[in-house]
Symmetry: C2
């Protein structure tokens, strides 16, 4: 297999959600590979887009501010692309329960519209879609592999599940090349830290750096984490390989850790801090999933992907980044 | 358990897709129970609505022509109802592949909008949602029970799957009362016979009565069938019982039969006819599911439902109905 640098040199790449956490880290790597990059982002304040995420690569990418719900804009932008990394999304589970129709428009309808445009106007494109472990719901067994039944417990999970099926269907039936990655908790520089809408770890980083106690919900739940650079590796591997077309792959990371232990580790790495344990209110409890961690043997075998960054190292890099840059994120 | 007649007397009932095949048969039964009935239907020519379906009960129901995509109309109509039978849908698998966004708007977005209206404005309502065995995709084992993985092979199946999850989620999280029935092939008077958009059996009935050969695709596939009056029984049982809230149930019928044997049986019951066997074109083959038949033990146990009408009797009644009325359906 050729290296990403050989492969993406001069190729046209579109990243939806390109100013967000994962999109901007992916863009940085693709810039280094010599790709021609368009970043599409809506900059909706509640989502992950932040122009600061690309300050160092701003001259090497084209930024197009538009919303994936704007089908006319996307119809134009999609055409002529060799690769589309489809990362734009509403990620908050709670917001999806309060305003499910917005979640549907972004996570479901917009995705179908992008796929329809590809089918009609650029059938040769390769798509990589960022799905989520949320669609498994409360695990029946651990670790969770891709054969685990899908049982999403919130509207966000239902819509992401539908979008994922659209991608594999368009690959298997219409011959588009699309690969789906089911991400678990992704952490790293450029994640949203203003609140817990994207990941609770973002909120914890902020609390820690502002000298406030980390607010841990419950605390016994086990979770696994992938460092964003490892997620970027997986996205490039999915794009490079024909092996993943029409298929779905879990990502994962180091062995799982309880939220309480994670909080303690972060305080230790930070050199100071405290945490409070809080109990879920009834409404939140209903959509809680208990322990979760992934089995990611399938992607290891099919795409030779492995996470390389231990959790401690991921947290050190992340803390360091926000110590220098938090003013651009709050 | 009280009888449906005791239960629905004077109760307010809304049926979406109320001028269609199942909706109109359900309405007829509810008229006999003394319910106050509103039938909502868009009368989109490609779908199942037909005013002739209610000629004999037209004075006992209120008809409101509107589309479930019209959220304003639905928002008004839903309020104050005791029961909603949510049957409106785009049912053609092939149409969903050609025009997936229309399928999404009807089968997915409109359903979410109805549920949101119920959550906000009539949280005490009971919903019964008509889902489909299509969401199982190509069976891994037979008969297919409700634990079978969901693997829809067309856009219609993906959208119906999402809509079904919305219903159970709103029941389990928001406390709305909603029960989902996964229908297999439903047959009987008032089904669409103009073409195969709703059921291939409709098209066969038409071919038979017009003295043309029945067009059988492939022919070895096994299928099961539920007579529409048995489906109506299941809908009333689902509405009556609290036992089904937040749950999904397969319907079923007589032991399965191959399409070829079904064609022969229909010709026999009709007293005349022929059939041609045709082979799927490549496009259609890709979304074919092979054999399918349901395990419906769960609804038998939980709601005491059983199908009462043997397949032969169902076909006799159906043929008889269309012999008298086919001019209103073609």
């Amino acid at each position: 297999m050729s290296s990403p640098a050989d492969f993406f040199q001069g190729r046209s790449v579109l990243i939806t959600g390109g100013l967000g956490f994962i999109g901007s880290n992916l863009a940085r790597r693709l810039v280094a590979c010599g790709a021609k990059i368009v970043l599409v982002d809506s900059l909706v304040p509640e989502y992950g887009g932040n122009l600061f995420n690309i300050t160092d690569i701003a001259d090497s990418v084209k930024v197009n501010i538009s919303d994936v719900r704007d089908r006319y804009s996307l119809k134009y932008l999609v055409q002529g692309q060799d690769f589309i990394f489809n990362l734009a999304g509403q990620t908050s589970h709670l917001d999806s329960m309060e305003d499910p129709e917005t979640d549907l428009a972004i996570n479901c309808a917009a995705q179908l519209s992008i796929l329809e445009t590809c089918r009609k106007h650029c059938p040769g494109v390769k798509l990589v879609f960022a799905s989520t472990r949320q669609i498994y719901g409360k695990p029946n067994y651990l670790p969770v592999d891709e054969e685990h039944p899908l049982n999403p417990v919130d509207v966000n999970g239902i819509n992401k599940m539908a979008a994922e099926f659209y991608h594999t269907l368009y690959s298997n039936v219409h011959g588009l090349k699309a690969c789906v990655l089911r991400l678990t908790n992704t952490i790293g520089p450029r994640m949203r830290v203003r609140d817990a809408r994207q990941t609770f770890v973002g909120m914890w980083i902020r609390q820690l750096l502002e000298g406030r106690p980390i607010e841990v919900w419950e605390g016994q739940q086990l979770r696994d984490f992938t460092y964003v650079e490892d997620v970027v590796d997986a996205m490039l591997a999915a794009a490079l390989s024909e092996e993943g077309n029409g298929r779905v792959f879990n990502l994962g990371g180091d062995p799982p850790i309880s939220l309480r232990d994670l909080a303690a580790m972060m305080i230790d790495l930070n050199g100071a801090g405290t945490f409070n344990v809080r109990i879920f209110p009834a409404e939140r409890k209903k959509i809680d999933i208990g322990d979760y961690y992934s089995d990611f043997k399938r992607i290891r075998t099919a795409l030779a992907w492995e996470p390389h960054t231990p959790l401690r190292e991921a947290l050190v890099c992340t803390l360091e980044y926000y110590r220098a840059n938090i003013q651009h994120y709050v």
